[in-house]
Symmetry: C2
Subunit: 329 residues, 2 copies
């Protein structure tokens, strides 16, 4: 039910995801009537792979996480996460209130043994491919041990999404020299250097795009600021491009002549492709879609959940963590 657009986006997105993957089954959780209305007329072949689970409450986008957790025990969010807990679903995908989703997921699913705090990870478009970055906002203050655990989780996600055997891990810092940054990043660097992970050292903000690292590890404060800085800058540049191309009729001609270029760029950098941030470190798969996601965008978030569930990301995190044990003991 969540997100800015509710089932009017999530239901068509579910149908689109079902169409693309014949083995996928989806349980739609929410208020019965609007969901049923939106399913009306869908292909029987798709409908046969859809279940409807009613939930009477809706967590609003500005509701406080702890309040949602306490008062909304029959919200679509809570019921969907309960389904993951009971094993009836392999992943929960939501466009709802991030804080409430994280608090509920953490309360119901708990963290994997050895992981203190879940983190939010997402793919970021880089110069030649992608970078995975975490934490993007779940934990504003982190210890060196947390950053180490983020590196383990990021390593698993990057390997599963791209088939990279040993993802290169960098810690975000304000310089590449070993002496840079505070004791948290320096201690985390030591933990990682002593681990079996493929740690490549400190990286800087521009390296998120340089392709130097497959996984960029940082605390949730810095990660969230960096992510929103990217969004803000990208929006400003796209806005400026539109303004310039529509300034006068001659410029329209330029836009027409540039159509193949603009279309390629739009396709290549379409933020909808990157929708679906994963809340890693939990015993189950929980994917957070952008609240403003459209159908294409939300279908991508479903796809992320599908891949993570198939690859068994939580189990793999647990395994990779155990392999590192000597380094963190």
């Amino acid at each position: 039910m969540g997100g800015d657009h509710g089932p009017s986006v999530t239901v068509p997105a579910a149908l689109s995801a079902l169409q693309k993957d014949a083995d996928l089954r989806i349980t739609l959780v929410g208020l019965k009537e609007p969901v049923q209305a939106l399913l009306h007329g869908a292909e029987p072949g798709l409908l046969s792979r859809i279940q409807l689970r009613e939930a009477s409450q809706v967590v609003t986008m500005d509701e406080k996480p702890q309040e949602a957790l306490r008062k909304k025990k029959d919200s679509s969010m809570r019921v969907a996460i309960d389904l993951v807990k009971s094993g009836e679903a392999d992943a929960c995908v939501s466009a709802g209130n991030t804080g409430a989703l994280m608090a509920t997921a953490r309360f119901v699913l708990k963290t994997i043994e050895g992981i203190d705090r879940p983190a939010i990870i997402s793919r970021i478009r880089a110069r030649h491919g992608h970078t995975h970055m975490l934490d993007l906002g779940a934990n504003s203050q982190c210890s060196a041990e947390h950053l180490f655990q983020f590196a383990v989780m990021g390593s698993v996600v990057a390997a599963d999404m791209h088939g990279i055997a040993r993802p290169r891990i960098g810690i975000l810092n304000i310089g590449e020299e070993e002496t840079k940054g505070d004791s948290v990043v320096q201690d985390a660097a030591r933990l990682l250097a002593a681990s079996k992970l493929n740690y490549i050292g400190f990286v800087e903000g521009d390296d998120i795009f340089s392709g130097e690292a497959d996984v960029v590890v940082t605390d949730g404060f810095t990660g969230n600021v960096a992510l929103k800085t990217m969004e803000g800058l990208a929006n400003m540049l796209v806005g400026a491009l539109k303004t310039e191309y529509t300034r006068n009729p001659l410029r329209y001609v330029g836009a027409l002549a540039s159509w193949p270029v603009l279309r390629s760029l739009r396709k290549e950098f379409d933020p909808r492709t990157y929708n679906g941030a994963s809340m890693v470190g939990l015993t189950g798969v929980v994917i957070k879609s952008h609240g403003s996601a459209d159908t294409v965008s939300f279908a991508n978030a479903i796809r992320v959940g599908l891949v993570e569930a198939r690859k068994g990301v939580p189990t793999q995190i647990s395994n990779l963590l155990k392999e590192q044990a000597p380094a963190v003991a």
Copy 2:
């Protein structure tokens, strides 16, 4: 002497700055021969406003700040800052090693009374105008009091550069709600709310460009990451635009037809315009240029130094800080 290109950039930039401002006088500090060679043939009207001060040493770009401070007492950097200290110069502009410049400036000039730590501030291109952001990397860990002092310094710089009577100040955070972030940003928010500054609350990464705030205050770790994230993303997008426009001859046509648009955008977002970060909080004006600056870029950094010196930024910071005294006592 500093920067990636040394006097081959700084000397022509100085000549260009002198040409634009008839009241400007410049002392070039460095190795005599290369500087004199570059001045050869310059207009006598400009040469009459240039002084040459020899300095026998050069601080290299990868030299450790404390080592440069201890061992290079006759470096161009040190001599230039000494000139500010003695009153022979009103501002020092350098493209050299940032850490060494900061350490030397702090050692020689000291901070203004009431300012614990100098910070690096720069203009950032926003949707409709500019934002000033600090700290961009001088202090990776900051207290609430430091952030408060940054706000005072940012307020003075924004007012002086844009003539805004009461610059709107925001603290960078991971949400706009008062409960977001750690105790440092929350305590800083209380200090600012109780001050006479025009504090507007928490802002997020995308607000650096939204125009909501004139000054964005943050610690040097987050600020540096955000700044380099912008640089990395902008470079990636410009690179992609170039690649797409040169993919085949038809696309060249598109580029030609788009020439007015591309030229406008290039002019509007030219990073060279934004060169010249100020090391505020010191008793004198010290401007740091990008190490890779070209002549146009370095001339802009000189311009920043000129404006700050004329406005008397250090004195104004001291005055504005005194006005706030009741709030921080």
